[in-house]
């Protein structure tokens, strides 16, 4: 019911009009600015649910290791469920080709300098991929730690990746991505000896803005911690299925 006037219409959807002091009208609204994206996101959710599929939205700054993590972990998941990857980049299909290299169906979205994926683009990617029943879909968002966080893609979970070379204070400096994620994957842990990165400080900063955040440490180079990531993915997929 509408909070503004109790008219029985869902709020966010309708307008009330009255004369303004000037010549014109004032239309009072209560509408989410991203309402349209949310409609597409809901359609994506339905599309996934109808196929028993699960989607994971991966967000990080450019170069944190999203594609490499996928390359290294998809092999371990291939026999478990049908996989698919949606790649988002400003330009090029380099990442799609890297994923093709491990034999997983992939659709590349080029945003032509758009700084994030939106639900509409992802919906079209699903159509291209014609997702098999029970698919596990990884959406690699455009490399950007700020902008993608506000756009619901209809995913089942959001993962934020942070590489140890970026510094342990990023969750404090760029909190939005960490607030909206369920998991933080701290990547490139093989490089820890070469950088000033305190694992404890990083976790503290991250949990200060998101107390429920799960944290996984891993290295795609050595394979350390990869099992933890794969286990989390399986747990999520099983949870959604039940």
């Amino acid at each position: 019911m509408c909070d503004t006037c109790g008219c029985g219409m869902p709020s966010h959807e309708h307008a009330h009009e009255y004369e303004s002091d000037h010549d014109g009208h004032v239309i009072e609204l209560e509408m989410n600015v991203l309402a349209k994206n949310d409609v597409y996101a809901a359609a994506n959710r339905e599309h996934l649910a109808s196929r028993g599929a699960v989607a994971i939205n991966m967000i990080s700054s450019p170069g944190a290791g999203k594609t490499t993590l996928l390359q290294q972990s998809l092999n371990q998941l291939k026999d478990w469920r049908p996989l698919a990857v949606v790649e988002g980049d400003l330009q090029t299909d380099n990442d799609a080709r890297r994923i093709q290299g491990v034999g997983v169906p992939v659709h590349q979205i080029n945003t032509n300098n758009g700084c994030h994926l939106d639900a509409h683009m992802v919906g079209h990617a699903y159509e291209h991929l014609s997702l098999a029943t029970g698919s596990l879909v990884f959406i690699e968002n455009v490399g950007n730690l700020v902008c993608p966080a506000g756009f619901d893609l209809g995913e089942n979970a959001t993962v934020v990746l942070l590489s140890v070379t970026e510094g342990d204070d990023k969750p404090a400096k760029y909190p939005v991505a960490f607030v909206n994620a369920q998991v933080m994957v701290i990547t490139k842990t093989d490089l820890l000896p070469y950088v000033d990165f305190s694992m404890d400080r990083c976790k503290e900063f991250a949990r200060a803005v998101n107390p429920d955040l799960e944290i996984i440490e891993c290295s795609s180079r050595t394979g350390d911690g990869m099992d933890g990531w794969v286990a989390w993915v399986k747990r999520l997929a099983n949870q959604v299925a039940s």
């Binding site: 010549d23 014109g24 009208h25 004032v26 902008c147 993608p148 939005v176 107390p211």
Partner: protein
């Protein structure tokens, strides 16, 4: 700069709603920007007139009301105004503050002309 696509959605909503109300022009758009919405008001103000060009909202004024984030401490019950995303109670140190508002991003009013 996701504020550019935020501005696009905003102008689209404004023009659609104006048309539905039988109006020709949008002269003012009021938005509520939650402090925790991830949208930077200055960036939005910068993008807005650019996106308005060539639409029924060309030349419209953008009125941004920043919605300060509010929360409640789960331990001492104090009402807290949050200035950032850090959810530690300033009065007793408890954690995490339960956020009640400040995440919204809404169009609240339009001024239109026939």
């Amino acid at each position: 700069m996701h504020e550019l696509s935020i501005a696009q959605s905003l102008v689209e909503i404004a023009c659609d709603q104006a048309e539905q109300a039988g109006a020709k022009r949008v002269t003012r758009v009021s938005v509520l920007v939650g402090l925790l919405s991830g949208v930077v008001p200055d960036s939005l103000s910068f993008c807005f007139p650019i996106v308005c060009q060539g639409t029924a909202a060309e030349g419209a004024e953008l009125a941004i009301q920043v919605d300060p984030a509010k929360g409640t401490c789960p331990k001492c019950g104090v009402s807290v105004e949050l200035n950032d995303f850090v959810l530690i109670c300033p009065s007793c140190g408890a954690f995490p503050i339960e956020v009640r508002s400040g995440r919204d991003l809404k169009v609240t009013a339009l001024e239109v002309e026939e």
